[in-house]
């Protein structure tokens, strides 16, 4: 007889027995030890039918493909830039992924990104040894100038963005600040100095209280008190400026790589030689053959 020892959404810590018996299945953040399921990291437990998993509460950012991050240029290389990503691994921004214009060999790279510049970039590739490649080619990806930078817990980023960007657009609308949130926990805010401070306070508050129920209402009340404005929770605008990635508030687990079934190489049969006299007719014939 299996027994669950925690309630849904309870906080679990390493070594804690989450369930007893063989009826439950351990997923992310939990593992099986004999007939028990134990937690192996700090998180909020999620029970989905038989599957028990933990959503992490703390920990450094780990680079993942297709994440939009904010990074700081720390070095200029022969053909690109090295960018610090608020994680154990720095990223490389290669020349061809930096700009849509053709950058000639030997150009002064500081014309594009100088040292200590902040950039919004997308992770294009992460290797098994966590070598990271990023790109600044794409909508919303750019160099940041002005404003202020804020570091937050990367696991709280989905809460700051909210469902379909509802939380961040609420802050944007009330404070009038431009806000960009990187998945790596770096937030860029630009606006009126007084409003910037309020935006910072609000984001810190979300970070501290995200595990308390009624977050949106608490934040709405806090924003109204601070700005003295009435907060209307607007419908999220799709692809709003600098926030095009916010729809993915809850990041889905990466799909496991499935190797396609091995197909033996079959040498194509040699095409019968035809005279090159009536070219257009032949072309259609060849296409037809392929189908």
């Amino acid at each position: 007889m299996s027994k669950l020892l925690v309630k849904n959404k309870e906080i679990i810590v390493p070594g804690q027995v989450v369930a007893e018996g063989m009826d439950y299945l351990p997923s992310f953040g939990t593992y099986r030890l004999k007939d028990k399921i134990l937690a192996n990291r700090l998180g909020v437990v999620m029970i989905d039918g038989k599957v028990i998993k933990a959503i992490p509460l703390a920990g450094r950012y780990k680079p993942r493909r297709n994440d939009t991050i904010i990074g700081r240029v720390i070095d200029i290389l022969m053909s690109g830039w090295r960018v610090e990503t608020n994680s154990p691994y720095s990223a490389v921004l290669p020349l061809q992924d930096a700009s849509f214009d053709y950058i000639k060999k030997g150009t002064d790279l500081t014309k594009y990104f100088g040292l200590d510049d902040y950039v919004v970039a997308k992770i294009t590739n992460v290797t098994s040894q966590n070598l990271v490649d990023i790109s600044t080619k794409g909508p919303g990806l750019r160099k940041l100038s002005g404003g202020r930078i804020l570091y937050v817990n990367t696991h709280k980023v989905p809460r700051i963005i909210g469902k379909q960007g509802s939380m961040v657009s609420m802050i944007k609308d009330t404070t009038g600040c431009k806000i960009t949130v990187g998945q790596n926990g770096i937030v860029w805010i630009q606006g009126e100095p007084a409003m910037e401070i309020i935006a910072v306070e609000v984001i810190k508050k979300i970070e501290d209280e995200s595990h308390i129920p009624g977050l949106t209402d608490n934040i709405k009340a806090f924003l109204e008190k601070k700005t003295g404005k009435k907060v209307v929770i607007s419908k999220p605008v799709e692809n709003s400026e600098g926030n095009s990635y916010s729809e993915s508030a809850e990041r889905p687990a990466p799909k496991p790589f499935v190797r396609p079934a091995h197909k033996p190489f079959v040498k194509p049969a040699p095409k019968p030689f035809t005279k090159p006299a009536s070219k257009p007719v032949q072309k259609t014939q060849v296409k037809g053959d392929k189908k």
Binding site: V13, P14, G15, Y31, L42, A58, G59, P88, N130, H211
Partner: protein
């Protein structure tokens, strides 16, 4: 018959000193903890996983755990303790690292490092055990993947009497043989990750001591887990 019939501070023989534990005491660190057992106080701060320097220490298979144990200058009995890495501190740093390594899983972080700094502002024996307890709370608080907490406490043998969690006065008992055995354990599996000894004990008593220490270890692990959970408690 043992000459040590009653403990100096009135505890039972299988009773630890009062324990307090708290997580998240150092705001800038990725994870931190304070662990107090009697008059021994340990602070631990965890930074990382972060980039590892010097590069020749890189391990491309898995991340590295680096511990640093240090007693503060004023932490002893009045004699100034010379700060910095002396022979004793280096050894304890090393055994702490080896005590924690079996539980942490850093295979996701090749070439990176997790730094653990343990500082003791006040000591009254059992400082490496307090340090290990604090460090494992701090590691859990930092969101490191670990299969269990590491609980640690010292076991002793004072003139034939087995005693849990010695304080300094007991370590310095003069009317008989004293053995001081710091032990660290993974409570879920019962594996020992630290077993050192100072003094004399018979093999039979040592086995008995290891058996006796299991229950208090579970209690300490429970306190450690509570400490991490309390940080997120809704007020």
């Amino acid at each position: 018959m043992s000459k040590y019939k009653k403990r100096f501070d009135g505890r039972k023989f299988d009773e630890t000193r009062p324990i307090e534990a708290e997580a998240g005491v150092i705001k800038k660190a990725d994870g931190s903890a304070r662990f107090k057992i009697g008059n021994t106080v340990a602070y631990a701060a965890v930074y990382g996983p972060r980039e590892l320097f010097p590069r020749n220490q890189h391990d491309p298979k898995k991340g590295k755990l680096r511990c640093n144990y240090s007693m503060m200058a004023f932490s002893g009995t009045g004699e100034r303790i010379r700060p910095g890495p002396n022979r004793r501190a280096k050894e304890i740093s090393m055994v702490t690292e080896k005590a924690l390594l079996p539980v942490v899983d850093l295979s996701d972080y090749p070439n990176a490092v997790v730094d653990v700094f343990i500082e003791l502002p006040e000591t009254d024996a059992g400082s490496r055990c307090a340090g290990i307890c604090a460090a494992s709370i701090a590691l859990a608080d930092a969101g490191i993947i670990m299969k269990d907490m590491v609980a640690s406490v010292s076991m002793g043998n004072i003139d034939g009497q087995l005693v849990l969690d010695l304080d300094y006065a007991e370590e310095a008992f003069e009317d008989g043989d004293v053995a001081d055995i710091p032990i660290a354990m993974i409570p879920s599996t019962g594996e020992l990750t630290l077993l050192q000894m100072d003094g004399f004990i018979s093999p039979k008593d040592l086995k008995k001591a290891i058996e006796l220490v299991k229950k208090p270890m579970e209690k300490i692990a429970e306190i450690q887990r509570k400490a991490v959970q309390n940080r997120y408690k809704v007020k």
